[in-house]
């Protein structure tokens, strides 16, 4: 691992085949991201990790690292675009943080705070989405889904169950459960699956665990997401 690229002036080492974001995360450098997780194949959907490389903008999770590349990430212009993306995610779903068990551990919320978001700016969609409480150990609240597909990838690649999928296109894209009835209880998902622990927001939640860590003492209550080296592991252990 001798080749490096420059991320906001800092030399980031990388190995052959790594993307810019993979190398940055491995080096402890923060590029805002939501649909990326170091353990899973990049999806390139949320675009929050967009950076400028050689004068062109691209998603850093799917852009191969190249020796000597000059990458801009933490600039006012790029952060303003990230803020707009995050605001759109907030209005496309129903994100009521005060009533969400994931508050303080939520990457969407933490990313928004880090970008200085104080309002969603756009008009709310207030979509009508169901809640699936059929499973004895898990709750599915589709109101908070940002379509990152991490549960889809984890179920397919780690659990070997293909329990989740994204269906539909454009604004009609939605998370579905692979079971005869479409309900979680009729799928082969279990509480120990990796898929039910990777959700960056509060869609897949374990039941009977509410407030096991009090509000105010959760991962992003203590430090901003940009200062937490790898928040994924800390949150998934819960």
């Amino acid at each position: 691992m001798s080749a490096t690229f420059l991320l906001d002036g800092r030399a980031i080492p990388f190995s052959e085949g790594q993307t810019i974001l993979q190398a940055a995360v491995a080096a402890g450098a923060y590029i805002p991201h939501l649909c990326f997780h170091p353990d899973f194949k990049p999806h390139g959907s949320c675009k929050v990790c967009t950076v400028k490389v050689g004068g062109r903008q691209s998603a850093s999770c799917t852009t191969a690292a190249a020796a000597g590349a000059v990458v801009e990430s933490d600039t006012p212009a790029i952060n303003a675009e990230r803020l707009a993306l995050v605001q759109m995610l907030f209005v496309e779903g129903n994100h009521f943080c005060p009533s969400c068990e994931k508050s303080g551990d939520c990457k969407l919320q933490a990313t928004a705070c880090d970008l200085g978001m104080v309002s969603p700016h756009f008009d709310h969609f207030f979509p009508d989405r169901p809640v699936d409480a059929s499973h004895p150990d898990l709750l599915l609240d589709f109101n908070r889904c940002i379509l990152c597909s991490l549960c889809v990838r984890a179920s397919r690649d780690v659990d070997g169950k293909n329990a989740f999928a994204l269906a539909g296109r454009g604004l009609r894209t939605r998370l579905i459960v692979n079971s005869r009835t479409g309900r979680l209880v009729d799928s082969d998902v279990s509480a120990g699956d990796r898929a039910v622990h990777v959700c960056p927001v509060g869609v897949i939640l374990p039941k009977r665990r509410g407030f096991s860590v009090p509000l105010g003492r959760r991962v992003f209550d203590l430090k901003p997401i940009s200062a937490v080296a790898d928040a994924s592991a800390q949150i998934e252990e819960r």
């Binding site: 907030f90 129903n94 994100h95 009521f96 943080c97 005060p98 009533s99 969400c100 508050s103 303080g104 919320q109 928004a112 705070c113 880090d114 200085g116 978001m117 104080v118 309002s119 969603p120 700016h121 008009d123 709310h124 207030f126 979509p127 009508d128 989405r129 509000l215 901003p224």
Partner: protein, 160 residues
Amino acid sequence: MSILDIDERLFTLLDKVEFDRSPITDIKEVGECDVGIIEGGLCNAENVEVLREFRRRCKVLVALGACAINGGLPAQRNHLSLPLLLQEVYRSEPGAEYGLIPNDPELPLPLNKVHPLHEVVRIDHFIPGCPPSADAIWQVLTGLLEGREHPLDHSLIHFD
């Protein structure tokens, strides 16, 4: 109530400002104001009227708290129909078999959906939180009084 959380700093504030319409003064009409602070989402026709009046009378309008900013918990009724909600509240409770849905002309008409303030009028500043911390309110108010505008400190941005 969150404004009262700024505690003894209220006295410092009172040296510099004069309250117009507020829960403390109970003045019904809005006068010409430099700063208007509004909390809560838009749930009924009166809310919209008051908000528009505030916008006309205030040079700077501040949305305070989660309900004002994204509808908050009341907006969780938005995927249900209003008739269904009224039936549920006034006709379905035990003992309410003979109850009626209130229909007095003096009552403001509820809106089909709860809306945040920025969807109806221009908002100049937002103070998020449920409720916002006293320090966040203080930082915005003192900033406005001193004529400076800068983003809320990161530690003061909370959505819960």
